[in-house]
Amino acid sequence: MKKRLPSTSGSGLEKPLKPDLKKRRLFLQSGLAAGASLIGVSTEASTVPGKLVPGWSRHLGAGVASSGYGIPSRFEADVQRRTLDWLHARREASISFTPLQSQQGIITPTGLMFERHHGGIADIDPERHYLLIHGLVKQPLKLTLTELMRFPSVSHIHFLECAANGVLNYPAAQYNSLQFTHGMLSCCEWTGVPLRLILNEVGIRKKAKWILAEGADAAALTRSIPIDKALDDALIVYAQNGEMLRPEQGYPMRLLLPGWEGVTNIKWLRRLELGDQPWDTREETATYTDLLPTGKARQFTFVMETKSVITSPCPENPLPGKGRVAINGLAWSGYGRIKRVDVSVDGGRNWQTARLHGPVQNKSLTRFSMEWDWNGQTALLQSRAIDETGYVQPTLSELRKIRGSRSLYHNNAIQTWRLNSNGEIENVQLA
């Protein structure tokens, strides 16, 4: 986190005030160059000789509405979603990872939310889109976005996690990066209509037990959802963090199933069909099924189980030096609220309870912190979450003992970071 130290310390007066060149280059590459030249005016200007007055303190900055939709400081330009091109054949059917190492709080900025698509980002004109609800209902229904928005709405904060989050860390440690070990995870405020209200509108026939949710994207992605979840806390959302959904998050409407694996939260939602059995679609047979050592696979493993990770320090956020350090992290559970998080600095031999940052919300990211006096020696850092049902986040070997090493999905194991004496972090796994 060296980069966050203000550059006015030390010689401070030299011009230019050490704008991070590498970052600036990244920034320009990211296609936001127009904004840079606007904001650039104040910092590139000269300072007053002999006075501790940086350019931005002397000259006027850009005026209001110089960008109608604001973007982060150009010095934060390396905070980006990232992907790995070897993972999938095409980016239209691939995944990008949230930079959790830069997330300061429980809300993931909308533009940093991880993406998983199977047919690219649908570019939907809401005027030409509607949601169709049919099947085992008393009265089929068509709802446009405008009509959906007339219903009473709620706003809830919930995490969303891909079933495959942690897959790069399951068979063995593969990358030294929090973004790539845990970044198929985000948490946002979601606004929409309880699905139960919509189902009441169409009238559920007695035999209906499952709902097929289908997207309007080029994958027409489908998952079968048990009706109990639909009547419990499922939402049809149209807004995220106070604005309409982003195209990559399912604009103009998506399903939100709090605590359930990401793929079931169908984006670009166009159809809900009620039926008496599941459909066994490709995404609930060929993929998103958890293969056990016996060769049998678990199907319909919906819940994202209780999990936590230390986000600072982490591979991207080394410790600046010994002494009093803050260990910060995130915990979450598809079973409900986080009750407690413990932290170990000796590889799980001894544990101390960390402080939770409230309010602790249902199926939401929850921050935890612990202060620690680091003596500068190698340490093995871990966090362990416990939820309100009493479920305790397991170790990787406990998980593998039951599920083997090929189940790939639903890895909620305790993460171990080895802190080296130089403050750097290494991704390690313990027996």
């Binding site: 049919h134 063995a172 990066s177 097929l212 027409a220 050592p293 079973y335 413990d342 039951i402 290494e426």
Partner: protein
Amino acid sequence: MYSWHRLVIFITFFISAAPAMTADQRYGYGTVPTEIEIRAWDIDVRADGAGLPDGKGSSVQGEALYLQLCSACHGEFGEGIGRFPALIGGEDSLDKERPKKTVGSYWPYATTLWDYINRSMPFGNAQSLEPDQVYAIVAYILNMNDLISADTVLDRKSLPAIRMPNRDGFLSPDPRPDVHSKACMKNCRDNIEITSHTRNKP
């Protein structure tokens, strides 16, 4: 006031008598779709074959279509080009160290193959195939997997009757929570051994 009450009762009676639904919390937003609108979007095919349309095709008819529309990504023999998924292989691999999940080795239902191709393939030109073409291509893929003969004709009756090798390979409902850890606080473990570590940057 009395007459007001009568009016309210009268209106209430009218409103609740009109729609077929009893639930009084209905909002009445949205419109009723036509049969044609429902049929146009109701493309799903269930494991038991519900939803399969009329039409038919065999592997012989599917070969040319597959080579023209699919083989560029999935390979002439279904082996998969680069990272595009393979559609064949992996028999008896599911309990091995390197399981290979394909249509032949892993998919429990042939009907799912029909549904998936019909809704999303060819990649980049989804929902462009006619039912006869989908039956024929499905037949070709199943034939490449040695599951049906080249002249087997697939239709809404014969396709659901195919028994896939991994038909009984799936377990539900979900048995989780299946891993029961304990929140020990002091002296929880003795020897700590690092089994895997990485400094690789992505």
